[in-house]
């Protein structure tokens, strides 16, 4: 395979920027671009000595002519491009002891876009090819340096925004999911073996094969998959947060509650019913979880064209939400509230009694309702906790959370679908049971990477920035 190059640090100003080469010609291409490897100039002098110091060549003489570069030593040198020269640190990682498993050379440059781009252009001119998204990590997988799920963990780490996301990425890149998947694969294999034996050999060859343990094994595998499936729900929350929508009659204090929850005066609050027309959304983080909160127009019978549109939007927003907060005014419960409650009864609903700081106990009959006051902020944390509970998002603060991305989630779903066709293992013919279990196994092995193809590779590695 050819040698690839890319800028590994983000675009913009910074202390340093890194250009990286990977492939069989990484070192020879890099050396075509530098002179004075390990010079005596004061820059980093002692540190450079300590890091190995490397060798020294005459100015103007290409390094490749004489010098031998030791792996894992930092060399201070001068990189020459078409338009400029600059000091840099060059480090060589010799295959297979590198991130990709191939020869890697890193240029640590001054942190300017122009310098990084210039050096990149230079190595490309000397024979390297621009790396595609995630190609470094893909090569690491191809060269057996890490499993696919581990690579996906790296991608998650790169894109992480919350601590939970970092933990999730770390969990993946440490192989937690891989371990679970291998266990499930092991179970399914142990079901396949006796099934196969009973089909392949005649009774006079091996006698009766005991298949009585098979349903238990399959059920165990199914349970393990179900665990992954529920972990997938949590993972989805880590990745995307929880979508929460405030609904209710006009003027029950939805917008006040919205502002109180997000901790900012985001929505306009008045005493006039029907103030909120459009849907307003804002995010906040609570207990490591991103809450995507939407405030909506109060629902009532109206003729105002704008308000009708607003109410329609409210209904659309409800459809796309995981959690609905039905807000009631505890001082003024009406028949309309009752109607809304019935309307939304099939949804993931929390009833919120607002304005509990004011007198009046009319809301007492809503036993499970959460009593809050947007005004005094009373009950808000309890509300957030209840949302986490309802969204099955508790326990994210634990470090060893099993994390699955959306690809893993789909694989688990499909594997469960396959096993789902086995209602009672005894009902299926042996060879059909084998077929079903084998299909589930093939599906789940898409996570472990035992069934690896380009389609999958593109799907996974397109999420990386170029240099990683």
């Amino acid at each position: 395979m050819d040698t690839i190059a890319g800028i590994s640090t983000p675009q913009g100003k910074g202390g340093i920027s890194v250009v990286r080469l990977s492939g069989a010609s990484a070192l020879s291409i890099a050396l075509l671009c530098v002179v004075g490897v390990g010079g005596k100039s004061g820059i980093g002098g002692k540190a450079c000595e300590k890091m190995g110091g490397g060798g020294q060549v005459d100015k103007g003489k290409r390094a490749s002519d004489s010098i031998e570069i030791k792996p894992r030593y930092a060399y201070l040198c001068e990189v020459k491009t078409k338009h400029f020269s600059d000091k840099c640190i060059l480090i060589y990682f010799k295959a297979p002891h590198s991130y990709t498993g191939e020869d890697i050379v890193e240029f640590q440059l001054h942190g300017s876009n122009a310098i990084a781009n210039g050096v990149l252009a230079e190595v490309l001119a000397k024979g390297a090819r621009l790396a595609e998204n995630g190609e470094f990590s893909m090569r690491a997988v191809l060269n057996g340096k890490m499993s696919i799920t581990e690579a996906e963990g790296v991608a998650s780490l790169i894109n992480a925004q919350t601590a939970a996301q970092i933990r999730a990425g770390y969990s993946l890149s440490s192989g937690h999911l891989q371990k679970r998947v291998l266990e499930i694969e092991g179970l399914l294999y142990s079901a396949l073996a006796p099934l196969e034996a009973s089909i392949a050999y005649t009774q006079e060859e091996i006698g009766e094969v005991d298949l009585s343990g098979i349903p238990t094994i399959i059920e165990k595998a199914r349970q393990a998959l179900l665990e992954l499936d529920s972990a997938a729900g949590v993972s989805d929350i880590i990745e995307n947060g929880i979508s929460v929508t405030l609904v209710g009659r006009p003027n029950v204090g939805k917008s006040s509650l919205f502002n109180a929850l997000v901790g900012a005066d985001r929505a306009i609050v008045t005493d006039i019913a029907g103030t909120t027309r459009d849907v307003i959304s804002e995010s906040f983080v609570y207990n490591d979880v991103v809450f995507n909160l939407s405030d909506t127009a109060g629902i009532r019978q109206v003729t105002d064209q704008i308000e009708i549109l607003g109410i329609q939007k409210t209904r659309d927003t409800i459809k796309g939400s995981q959690i609905i907060l039905l807000v009631l005014d505890s001082t003024d419960i009406t028949k309309d509230d009752q109607q809304l409650l019935e309307q939304f009864s099939g949804l993931n609903l929390l009833v919120v009694l607002n304005k509990v700081d004011k007198a009046g106990k009319t809301g007492a009959k809503f036993k499970n309702a959460i009593r809050v006051s947007a005004n005094t902020k009373q009950g808000l944390d309890k509300l957030k906790e209840q949302i986490l509970v309802l969204a099955n998002a508790k326990g994210l603060e634990q470090g060893d959370t099993l994390y699955l991305n959306s690809r893993h989630k789909n694989v688990v779903k499909k594997a469960l679908e396959h096993l789902g066709t086995i209602k009672q293992a005894g009902d299926l013919e042996t060879e059909v049971l084998f077929f079903v279990v084998k299909n589930a196994l093939q599906e789940i092995s898409k996570i472990s990477g035992k069934d690896f193809n380009t389609e999958l590779a593109n799907e996974i590695f397109s999420k990386f920035c170029i240099g990683k």
Partner: protein
Amino acid sequence: MDSNKYDAIVVGGGHAGVEAGLALARLGKRVLLCAMSLESISFMACNPNIGGTAKAHLVKEIDALGGQMGVNADRAAIQIKTLNNSKGAAVHSLRAQADRHKYHIDMKSVLERQVNLHLLESEVTEILVGERVGDKAESKASGKTGGKAGVALDTKNKDKCVIGVKTEFGETFYAGAVVVASGVYLNSDIVIGQVKKRSGPSSFAAATKLSDSLRALGVELRRFQTSTPPRILKRSIDFSKFTRSGGEDVLQGFSALTADSELKKVLKKQKNYPCYLGYTNEKTHEIIKQNIKSSGIFSGAMDSKGPRYCPSIEEKIVRFEEKQRHQIFLEPEGENTDEYYLQGIFTGLPTNIQRQVVQSIEGLESAEIMRYAYAIEYDAVNSLGVNPNLMHKKIAGLFFAGQVLGSSGYEEAAAQGLLAGINAKLFLDAESPLILKREESYIGVLIDDLCLKGVDEPYRMMTSRAEHRLFLRQDNADLRLSQYAIELGLACESRKKLFKKRQKDIQKADKILQTVLKPDARLADVLGVELGVLKSGLSVYEALKRPKTCIFKLNSTYNLFKGVPKHTLFTIQSNVKYSGYLAISNAEMAKEKALAHFSLPQNFDYNSLKNLRLEAREKLNKIKPQTLDQAKRITGISPADITVLLLHFK
């Protein structure tokens, strides 16, 4: 015409050789079939049965392609049954106890009567080759033009091509294609205890010269091993100590050509030829343990690879020490003999110990051994050296088939023989080879495995080797393959007629399956449910889809499929029962097709792809797969390697 010139020569008259010879002759080629002894034509050297799991599929496919094995197996059958009957149709496997002598005599007579085929008793000692210039064979001796291989085969790089053979008597015969089907006879040694003698099976002579000739041509050989149990005399057996295991009624024999009346004759006589089930015991195991060092298999007298799935009794006792008994099976060897085959006692033990072992078994206390068990070691060709048309990669026109190519079993051999014969014909006529696909046949799986995966022990067909097992049923072998036979010209008129009728019946069934059945007592009876449960009518298809519905009962109740024979009804039923799973399976097949169209260069040095693991590079350089889908199946090629190939060649 010169008497020493033929179109093709077949070396060996075993199960592979006879199919190759018959296919070539039936396709209009003049064929010389050389066998070392005409008494060894289609000799069943081991078990006296044909078919069994996965093997029955092969026999049915051979029959569908116009081969001979199925026809003769039905003729020689003395007992027949369907194995795996308690499981689904896809893994049903017909097995017949065959009269060994009759099977041999019948096949010899088929060969004798075959136009274009010359049967000659002679040991072939040398394969003759000529230099190849461009596409033509330069050979002073014959002046014959070597054929062009089909598109998929790279003939340009071949520098040698076959021109004929030489025999032990110094005779030379010329031909443009030679099929080597020498079975286990190449430099074979029989081992019983510490006695080792150069011999073929059952005291037929070993072929001692051909190996050297092959080696000199650059054909890679290695040593393989197999073994056979003792035969004992009927009247010395106390059958009362065994469990009788008889034949069963079956819908059809191995061959579509076998008339129902013929099958009935077998079904009628089979009550006289049951098999018997018995067990070894702790005494047996003790004798073996004490004498294990004297076994030819364990003493180091043989260092070749034997088949794992057909272990000797010594190996079974060592490997499964916790088992207190192992099954044995007594099988009759024919109508006019009192020999019984002792399935389960494969051994390399010395003769006196063999006797003790046999006589330690309940019911065999006074058993008389007529033939001792023996292990046999022989030269086999590395199957990675041949292309999927079974022609050697380096020598144009030289084909290999059967046990010499590393397989085991009569059925595996016959299947390769048939395909080698067909492909030798296609090679001679410069036509594209017939390479059966894995998703359409067990034969395709067999040959693909041999050529791509290679084998390091004798290869036995297993249903698990087929990815599309639910589709590759024995009952639809003709529907999958007979079209090839018709196009090639291997299907006789009656086969064509039967095939057309089957196709038509199955086509018509599509419409009948849509018929809606009323929710009445008749339907409840067919479905095996209470009448009250039936809320609405069901189509015939839906009714059949239910696990407990049987098409025979359905048809006798409603008489929907008029004039459709039972075995076709069974196929219709299987198609319905598996339909959901077949849809999933078909989706898989479609994916594989994309890889099958991704061709790989034949002269590429995989060492230049540093991202491939060393093992993968070596394997790919050795095998040179033609497509990515072939590469995927090579043992030791990982999914990541495939991705490297995809990225490199896309």
